[in-house]
Chain length 191, copies 2
DNA sequence: AATTCGTTTCAGAATTTTCTGAAATAGCTG
DNA sequence: CAGCTATTTCAGAAAATTCTGAAACGAATT
């Protein structure tokens, strides 16, 4: 990793560390960061040199990152090597990331809950457990349908939604007739 | 794990597997699931028996789950053992979970980006890298301020926001004067 | 102050995940 | 098709994480 400027190097190392927390691994995070920060596409050999990891590791990681849609393949005329970049639009990257995490972290759970809830309960304990599972299923279901809606927004509208922030309550109150904001009463956490 | 009904057992095992994908580990996930599904609080010994993991592992994991605010300590009169449950309100659990992930996954990155952006660039490459970092910083910043706003909503209002789903565009268009929904034009991905 | 019951700590064992290097594969080019 | 260059695969090495058992600790009780 000797050819990188200290600035980029720190960026890359940080993403390496975060990689593990984001369901990737160190190399995946580092490669992504390197490509993200690089002004032009890099080939596998460049990456090997820059990060000082084995050529095969780079190859496997690039393949996986392509599976995540987080890196793109580019070709140069008269050069048969593969070059790689990250998508330009950070919003698109964000959408991809969320989509991917939903697929890996949420969907399987939803499927299991759906199955378990429909089983016939064997006793009082099961009955209670199923009630709890239904609560969880309901919550996750609401979140995912909301997400499915929001996901369809184009970038300007998504940005607008984010920009709205707290002001969204005004519309909510108007739309749902909850009336003006009350003090939290017993039984509501209020946050 | 012989004393659990098949239904609860499957639930527990699934959460064990998912645990790893959610930044926990298997035992953490299993204990949480067990407590979540259980009709009443359990003590550490109960958990050891139910999951067939070592007593010390249960102890450490309970401590960590308390750190995540995902399990609560309960006491019974005339019994000096500690008993544990999960918070009742699934919304609260969800809030906790998101908060915790933000703290672990987002905040550190934001701090690093903030630092790196303010450094003086050593060359053209650094200049480009910093521009990219600013893009990323801007996106994450927007997301977190939005989150900070939404987090303050009480449960009914949060539910209302979710219920709104796609209809939110109407308010957005009204609020931002973007005009009626257009076809995506060049430079917008549209999703 | 010794006993009992419950909890915590921590070194190292067991397991899982990640990474490497050597060999296989694939696809041009002359 | 022989010779290159670039890429991929995969068994096992290396590293990181998770788990255990034995011992320490703490606090109430006799």
């Amino acid at each position: 990793m000797t050819t990188l400027s200290p600035l980029v190097q720190e960026f890359v190392l940080h993403f390496g560390e975060m990689g593990s927390r984001w369901g990737m691994n160190r190399t995946l995070g580092q490669i992504y960061a390197l490509l993200y920060a690089s002004p032009e596409p890099l080939c596998a050999e460049d990456i090997t040199a820059a990060l000082d990891v084995s050529r095969s590791n780079v190859s496997m990681s690039l393949r996986e990152l392509q599976g995540w849609n987080l890196v793109l393949l580019k070709h140069r005329p008269g050069d048969r090597r593969d070059f790689f970049t990250t998508p330009e639009d950070v919003w698109q990257i964000f959408r991809t990331l969320v989509e991917e995490r939903k697929r890996r972290e949420v969907d399987p759970t939803l499927a299991v809950l759906d199955d378990l809830i429909s089983r016939t309960a064997a006793g009082e304990g099961d009955r209670h457990a199923q009630a709890r599972m239904r609560e969880m299923y309901g919550l996750i279901g609401q979140l995912t349908t909301w997400y499915d809606d929001v996901r369809k927004l184009d970038n300007p509208r998504l940005a607008a939604l984010l920009g709205l922030g707290a002001k969204v309550t005004r519309f909510l109150d108007a739309a749902t007739r909850l009336g003006p904001r009350r003090r939290a009463s017993k039984g509501e956490t209020g946050q």
